[in-house]
Amino acid sequence: MTPLTGYLLVAALLFSIGLGGALTRRNAILVLIGIELMLNAANLNLIAFWRYGPHPEALTGMMFAIFSIAVAAAEAAVGLGLVIQIHRHAHTTDLDQMNRMRG
């Protein structure tokens, strides 16, 4: 198994774990955690491809990863803000109960 394959497999597993978390947990924050994990899995892929790709000097994958880290920060901020707001509003973070727009 070449290094790249290994990293890709790890990333895939990480992604699936994140997805599983996002799919199975009730708590919205936990779902966000799952999403963060998925994002990170994607970043790992990017970096691995950058490292073992034909043109590491082009920095593309690295840049992509850095940008996506920055974007993920924004995503987390807004997402958590929303969760807090919803909690204030509906007094729950349980996604199974957050299924109506009225409130």
Binding site: M1, P3, S16, G53, F67, V71
Partner: protein, 186 residues
């Protein structure tokens, strides 16, 4: 103390699938699993930070020093803290009575497993054509922060600006979203 020859940036090339990799991967995946499985939400968050740290180290293992440190700075320094704050603010730390897993967690699990199956299959399918499959380990690209900076200010300046804009927007947006309720009650 340590002589200049030693530094993280030009580490001697590791053999394919080095021992370090296995350890780091194990740590990361364990952290991730814990993050999604544990009952106590705060424990989940802390486990998440473990996973993040493992990822950062994986980045270092991949000679992506800058990305690794950025990962630590952003994820452990900011996102994790944000998450625990959110947990405390939403009283998420005490576990709800009707279980922590949603009603149809089984389906979710199945689908996650399916996704992994497909992805893994894809990876293994394409293992032959993937770069570096020749078995010869590619040399570590010596990329300095200077180059990254130049790239950021040169080729990637537009994305940089856009990300800056996005972050500002997110900052304001988050503040507004979080403030709103207060405004109403006043």
């Amino acid at each position: 103390m340590g002589h200049p020859a030693f530094s993280v940036s030009h580490r001697e090339q590791v053999a394919p699938m080095s021992f370090v990799f296995y350890v780091l991967a194990a740590v990361t995946l364990a952290g991730a699993l814990a993050a999604v499985l544990l009952k106590n939400t705060v424990h989940c968050a802390l486990a998440l930070t473990v996973a993040f740290a493992g990822l950062a180290l994986l980045y270092l293992e991949l000679d992506a020093q800058f990305a690794g440190f950025a990962q630590i700075l952003v994820y452990i320094g900011a996102v994790a803290i944000l998450i625990v704050f959110a947990i405390l603010l939403t009283k998420g730390s005490e576990t709800p009575k009707d279980g922590v897993y949603s009603k149809n967690w089984l389906a979710g699990l199945a689908i996650a497993a399916g996704v992994f199956a497909v992805l893994g299959w894809a990876v293994l399918e394409s293992a032959r054509v993937l770069p570096g499959s020749g078995g010869t380990p590619t040399a570590a690209p010596a990329v300095t922060v200077l180059q990254i900076g130049n790239a950021l200010m040169g080729r990637y300046v537009l994305p940089l600006e856009i990300v800056a804009l996005l972050l500002t927007a997110a900052l304001i947006g988050a503040v507004i979203v979080a403030m709103h309720e207060k405004e109403e009650t006043r």
